[in-house]
Structures are given as structure tokens and as C-alpha cells.
């Protein structure tokens, strides 16, 4: 697995940089300005991929936690640990860019919109997961306890999402002037999909780097790690 991660990481990095460059170029330069929102809609190319990734990473985390609890695969636990901070970062980016976008569009930095609120709660779930990991001293129990928390969280996410959506429509149905999303023109959609791909690659690249570091850290007594360290004169 270590070798696999080592081999894969540079390729993912190259691909990620290429798609990022292409996506940003198409998105920021080639795509036309929106007739309603002007140029400020372009933040979508960061915001939407980040928001998608925030949920995707949590699913990866919960799935690998379940795999870890059921089959006791150590690598699944490592994937879950490595994913958590990345996912939290994506969530924070989605919230921040959302609020930058909200200022010119809705006239306010923050609004208790259903999606915003559930994204915020998702961030809390990530932070709780990280805090629990940090607080438990023995690594085995930290892994298992955090895995249970991740699974409890994933059961709860749909309930939280729908309750928040319902709460919002119940209280302030028309006060949010959410712009109607026109079916996107292909010249705007293409860069968006490219950016989504780029963010995926960014995640997997980060994941591989972190997984490598964690394997080395955990197996620091193993002989192959010692050989590796000797070879690189560490």
C-alpha cells in the first residue's frame, strides 16, 4: 500500500494541476459572464466542487470506518483519519466561498438557508470527529471510537439535512431571494465539471500523501521503514 501510494501520488499531482489549470482557464477566461450575476458567478468553480467534495469525503470516511470496524483492515482506518482534515478543509472552503458569493448576490454574508446550515453542521461533525480522535490517547481505541462516531454521523446526516430543510421552509419560505438556476450553458458547465474532477484529484493526491505519512508513522518499528530511512539518510 505504501508503494502504491508512493507511485500514484506524483501522477495524481500532475493530473490535478493540469485539470485545475484547464478548469480555471475555461472558467475564468473563456466562459461568458452571466447576464444576471456578471462575473461574480465565477466563484461557482470553487464553491460547488468544494461543497460536493465535503460530502463525498464524509462518505469515504464513513465507508472506510465501517470497513475498518467489520474487517479490521488497518488501511481503512488510515484512509478515514487521512480524509477527515481534508474533508473539514473542503467544508470550510465551501462555507467561506459561499459567503463571499452571498454578499453580492443576496446582500448578506450569512443567511440561515437550509443548505448553508446543513453544511455548517457537517463542519461541526468533522470537527467533533477530529476532536474525539485527538482526545483519546490509545490509538486503537481512538480509531474504533472515531469509526463509530463517523457511522452514527452518516446515519444522521440525511435526517439532519431534511429537518433543516423543513425548518427553513417552515419559517421563512419566501424571504430568500435564491436566484433561479437557469439550465447552464455548456460553456459554463464544462469548466465546472473539469473543476469537480480537479478537486477529486486534489483530494486523492492529498489522501495518498497523508496515507504514506501515516503508514510510516504507525509502522515506525518495522524493518522496511528502517531500511527506507537508511537509504534516504534520514
Amino acid at each position: 500500500m505504501y508503494r502504491f501510494a508512493e507511485r500514484l501520488a506524483p501522477w495524481l499531482a500532475i493530473l490535478c494541476v493540469l485539470t485545475l489549470a484547464a478548469g480555471l482557464y475555461l472558467g475564468l477566461v473563456v466562459a461568458p459572464a452571466d447576464y444576471e450575476q456578471g462575473d461574480s458567478y465565477r466563484i461557482i468553480y470553487i464553491h460547488v466542487p468544494a461543497a460536493w467534495m465535503s460530502m463525498f469525503v464524509y462518505m469515504v470516511m464513513a465507508t472506510s470506518s465501517a470497513v475498518f470496524l467489520i474487517w479490521r483492515l488497518k488501511i481503512a482506518d488510515i484512509v478515514a483519519v487521512a480524509s477527515a482534515p481534508i474533508g473539514a478543509a473542503f467544508t470550510a472552503v465551501a462555507l467561506l466561498t459561499g459567503s463571499f458569493w452571498g454578499k453580492p448576490m443576496w446582500g448578506t454574508w450569512w443567511i440561515w438557508d437550509a443548505r448553508l446550515t446543513s453544511e455548517l453542521l457537517l463542519l461541526f461533525l468533522y470537527l467533533g470527529y477530529l476532536a474525539l480522535r485527538g482526545a483519546l490517547e490509545s490509538p486503537q481505541s481512538a480509531s474504533k471510537a472515531a469509526a463509530i462516531l463517523a457511522i452514527v454521523g452518516v446515519v444522521n446526516i440525511p435526517i439532519i439535512h431534511f429537518s433543516v430543510e423543513w425548518w427553513n421552509t417552515l419559517h421563512q419560505p419566501a424571504s430568500i431571494t435564491k436566484f433561479d438556476k437557469p439550465s447552464m450553458h455548456i460553456s459554463m458547465l464544462r469548466p465546472l465539471l473539469l473543476m469537480v474532477l480537479a478537486f477529486q484529484l486534489l483530494y486523492f493526491h492529498n489522501l495518498m500523501v497523508r496515507v504514506r505519512a501515516l503508514i510510516l508513522q504507525r509502522e515506525n518499528r518495522a524493518s522496511w521503514v528502517a531500511e527506507l530511512a537508511e537509504k534516504n539518510h534520514v
Partner: protein, 257 residues
């Protein structure tokens, strides 16, 4: 008195005490699941009744927090009436959080949890008894006191029944959901803040449906949909949470070795 004492784990200096060991093992072969659950329920109830602070402190906390709101926001009856459902619900939620720590902390320290795990009986069943006892000692008093606080918060009188029913269903879910967090943090010193950090995001649906049921009735609407959803959440958490709690307790006990 002495005969009663034998049933609870009264510590006599040994660690874990003999009574604790005997108690947690139960009658391993002839005890049915329901009996096992009931035993833990009775035991925890008795322990809670004997230590007044355990059930009284969250209740006082609830009263004080609710009475801080008029001081902070202003005593205007119209304002208070509109925020009353939310204030009552949030305060009840916080009071429940405060009492969660005590579900497992004591039993963890005196070895009862460890005996539960090694007894060979299903941990999830014993846990149900413990959580129910927690609900009766810290959820139910809040529910019973809530109409009085509703009166102080100028809640319209039509909403009292809904307030009580929604809190009844809601605090039950909160006990079960919160017990997951309490079990996960049992081996951590000063896990109280962490416990709230883990549990509070998970309690959002209960809070939303509970407080909106009350405010719906207060503004003259039906609340049966909200209450049904609250009941659904209570059923779901009471049936799924014990599995997670049992898993978390096993981990916590293993961590202490």
C-alpha cells in the same frame, strides 16, 4: 436498609467491589433480556434517587437558563411569547447535555462497565435499562417542570400540552443519542465539553421538530406532523443507539486496560 444496599454497587474499597462483580454478572443463565434491562433500570434509578444532585442539578440549570433569557432580551410579553418555544427547548437540550456525563462515568470508575462487558450478557440490552433510568431521572423532571417555565415565558396556554408531549418524546431521543457520546468519551478525563461537541450537531433534528411543534400550536396551527416525526426519531434512536452505545462501551473498557 442493609438488604437494599447489597443490590447497588456500594464500594467497600476493593476495586471493583465484590458486589459490583456479582451484580453485573446477574444470573447469567436464567436472566431473560427484559429482566436484565429491568435490573439495570432499577439499580440506576435507586442510585440516582440517593444522590440528590444528580437529578436536581440539571433541573436547576434548566430553570436558571430559562430565567436568564428575559433578563438578557427584555421582559416584553410579546417578545417572550415568540421566543418561548425555542428558549424552552434549547434550555432543556443544554440541561440534558449537562446530565449526560453521569450515565457511564461512575460505572466506568468503579468497574461496573467492565463487569458488564465480561459478564457475557448482551451489553446493548443492559444499556437500554441504564439509558431509560437516565431519562426518568433527568428528562422527566424537565418535562414536568416545563409548563411552569412556559407560564413564566408567557407561552400561550394552548401550547402547554404540545410542549409537554414534544419534550417527552424529545428528551427520550436526547437520552439515547447523548448516551452514544457519553459512551464514546467515557475513558477521557474531563470529556464533558467534548461530549457536547460530539452530541449537539446530532440533536439538531430533535430541536427543530420539538420547538417548531410548540411554535406551530402557539400560532394556531396543527402540530401532529411534528409530533409524529419526533416519535419516529425517538423510536429510531431507541432501537439503533443501544448498538452504538454497546460498541463504544467495549472500546472504552478496552482502552482502560
Amino acid at each position: 436498609m442493609t438488604s437494599k444496599k447489597k443490590e447497588g454497587p456500594v464500594n467497600t474499597g476493593e476495586f471493583p467491589s465484590k458486589q459490583t462483580v456479582e451484580f453485573a454478572r446477574g444470573q447469567r443463565h436464567d436472566a431473560s433480556a427484559g429482566h436484565l434491562c429491568l435490573r439495570f433500570f432499577q439499580r440506576d434509578l435507586r442510585l440516582a434517587v440517593r444522590s440528590t444532585g444528580q437529578w436536581l442539578n440539571p433541573l436547576l440549570f434548566f430553570v436558571i437558563v430559562v430565567s436568564l433569557f428575559p433578563l438578557g432580551i427584555g421582559p416584553g410579553p410579546a417578545t417572550l411569547a415568540t421566543i418561548a418555544p425555542g428558549v424552552l427547548w434549547v434550555s432543556a437540550l443544554l440541561a440534558m447535555m449537562l446530565s449526560l456525563d453521569s450515565i457511564f462515568a461512575h460505572d466506568y470508575r468503579d468497574g461496573t462497565l467492565e463487569q458488564m462487558v465480561v459478564s457475557g450478557n448482551p451489553v446493548s440490552v443492559m444499556v437500554i435499562g441504564k439509558v431509560m433510568a437516565h431519562w426518568v431521572t433527568s428528562g422527566l423532571p424537565l418535562v414536568l417542570l416545563s409548563p411552569l417555565l412556559g407560564l413564566m415565558m408567557q407561552l400561550p396556554s394552548a401550547a402547554y400540552l404540545t410542549l409537554v408531549v414534544s419534550l417527552l418524546l424529545g428528551t427520550l431521543s436526547l437520552s439515547f443519542i447523548g448516551a452514544i457520546g457519553a459512551a464514546l468519551t467515557v475513558s477521557i478525563n474531563q470529556g464533558g465539553v467534548l461530549l457536547s461537541l460530539l452530541v449537539l450537531p446530532l440533536t439538531v433534528p430533535v430541536l427543530i421538530f420539538g420547538s417548531s411543534a410548540v411554535s406551530a400550536v402557539a400560532s394556531g396551527l396543527e402540530a401532529s406532523a411534528h409530533l409524529s416525526l419526533l416519535a419516529a426519531i425517538a423510536t429510531l434512536s431507541a432501537s439503533l443507539a443501544p448498538i452504538a452505545i454497546a460498541g463504544a462501551i467495549r472500546i472504552g473498557v478496552a482502552a482502560s486496560r
